[in-house]
Subunit: 337 residues, 2 copies
DNA sequence: TTGTAAGCGTTATCAG
DNA sequence: CTGATAACGCTTACAA
């Protein structure tokens, strides 16, 4: 029988010659134990290889320390970066991340939240998709905190963290115009998420305000391949755009590659390009893309901070919404800088 | 008091007019409940928003359903891809992934494993770093399964999944020679992990076998920036290499960008390049990189499969090691194809 | 098939 | 500061 399973506080207590409460207190921050008892407990625990059973602790405290990260497209650069930041900061806050991938099948956000409930997660952070109202309410009623990142949703209760997509998009128009561009285009995916659409609307509106028209093209999913197709479509038009704002850096990469290798266009001389997200590849010298930085670190810290706050009731009644500014990172894909 | 917390099996039992064991059995696959009882329980559970408490269940069954993923550099393309595959397949197997980021601070793999023990994880999959023998043994003794992916380690117990790095590297030499290259170089990071070093050794050995020498350069961490520096160093030598094998795609991307933009070299005409990992960017037309594909899907399925196997004792005694073949993906960065 | 009762490993309460 | 004792929500013999 190799499966001796785990050692319990009971065993540690016996070995240390104290009660099991003493053991418990030794591992509870801020409990009162004499230095001597503590020492003996710690010694016995170490010798036996004891580790507090967080399952049992969570059961008692009704607080598991688990935070669910609900996300699709984990392998995508922006998502992965956000994930890294979140796990790191959660760990710093003494929490542990449970990762739920919602790639396949729809309605899986709801399944993910049920999972979160089952594991009595202290909170769930949703990076993709949107939960059904009823299940979200169930989470909140159960005392679980909810954070929505870049998902527009109006139900009260969750903390919503969003960017100023609309305004940011407007700033690109200014940059393009300053670079002397006149024929603007917007390359979007068909995903139609609120942030993507806000960027489109903001860009179009700002251009209109300056009396300019925008050619809008939408295709596929928000990735490199879609960017190639979008370039194909936009650059074969009778009037080629001389500036294109891609809703996403990944789209921009695909777009630039096609513009250069297939249409032999020079960037930024013949075509100015801007993106959004500031993924790592945007800084690679093949792209050197001017783009908006997602403040991933701030997003993560705001989320974790809010989760760690004490006041549960006070908070849940007022509207909790954070609007973060996306900073433009100037690189070489727009003339002038 | 908004925190009504969670609804328990007790409450469901009362509402359904049955015992709490009946409720338990209804949610235990393969337990004997009459259709009628089941119906009433399910109805009550649904009305109340009941979800089995996995913490309590795990406590009883001594099986939490949690699998820890211990990983650093999560945002890196290859790691992120592996992560996606693992979470997906774990979920399919009815497990849930707990993500532990070991980016900061050393010895954090050990901390991560302690975490895994605390949450009574059924298994831990280690993608980065190596655990201390003693803590690894503690995991195994506690009945926790351990999987090491691409980490060479010889302690018995864990399942080790590795690639044929050494042999694969040899195949690159053949490809380079066939392309007419004569001055071979190997660009490595200073990380010195077993897989990285195996690629280096395999490449050098295969070249030697053909009577060729290899210029080896090592620098920094396994990322894009290091690739740039390596190019800087290798391409300013008196005798420029005409073929370089980069230990990693990320290194290769940095290398290619510098070779082209700073040294105005044409790939593959003046310089052939190969990489390893087959990250998404390798297929982007700016790189079009010939590289070895990490069989992430196979890695994940082998790992999950092994975790889900029944026989715990039989397995833990015999050497468990899997050697997977890295397939060469031919693209345009080597002449000839 | 069903209910009763005994745990699982903790923490919290309350005397001492 | 310490040690009993009662929960926490669940599963699982065991008996009915």
């Amino acid at each position: 029988m190799s499966t001796k399973v785990y050692v319990s506080a009971q065993e540690v207590a016996e070995k240390a010659g104290v009660s099991r409460s003493a053991v418990s207190r030794t591992f509870t921050p801020g409990a009162s134990v004499s230095a001597e008892t503590r020492r003996r407990v710690l010694e016995a625990a170490d010798a036996l290889g004891y580790h507090v059973n967080e399952l049992a602790r969570g059961l008692m405290r009704n607080e598991s320390g688990i935070v669910c990260l609900i996300v699709s497209d984990v392998a995508t650069p922006y998502r992965a970066a956000l994930l890294r930041e979140l796990t790191l900061q959660l760990q710093n806050a003494g929490k542990v991340a449970m990762l739920i991938n919602t790639d396949r099948s729809d309605g899986s956000v709801d399944r993910a939240l049920r999972q979160a409930i089952s594991y009595r997660a202290d909170a769930s952070i949703i990076l993709s998709g949107l939960p059904d109202k009823s299940i979200a309410q169930l989470c909140l009623r159960s005392g679980q905190r909810l954070v929505l990142i870049n998902r527009d949703d109006d139900q009260p209760g969750p903390l919503r963290i969003n960017l100023d997509d609309y305004e940011a998009a407007g700033r690109v128009v200014t940059a393009f115009v300053r670079a002397g561009c006149r024929r603007l285009a917007f390359a979007n995916s068909e995903a139609g998420t609120p942030s993507l659409m806000a960027r489109e609307r903001g860009f179009v509106a700002a251009a209109r305000a300056l009396g300019m028209d925008v050619t809008v093209e939408r295709y596929g999913w928000t990735g490199y391949e879609a960017g190639k197709v979008l370039a194909q479509r936009l650059l074969t038009r009778s009037e080629r755009p001389d500036a294109v704002f891609c809703a996403t850096d990944l789209l921009a990469c695909g777009f630039m590659d096609t513009a250069r290798h297939q249409f032999s266009m020079s960037i930024p001389n013949q075509l100015c390009v801007a993106g959004f997200d500031d993924i790592e590849q945007a800084s690679w010298s093949s792209y050197d893309l001017t783009t908006f930085a997602q403040p991933v670190s701030t997003i993560a810290s705001k989320a974790v901070e809010w989760l760690s706050e004490a006041q549960p009731e006070a908070v849940s009644n007022q509207e909790q919404s954070l609007r973060l500014r996306a900073e433009l990172v100037w690189r070489g894909s727009i003339r002038g800088g």
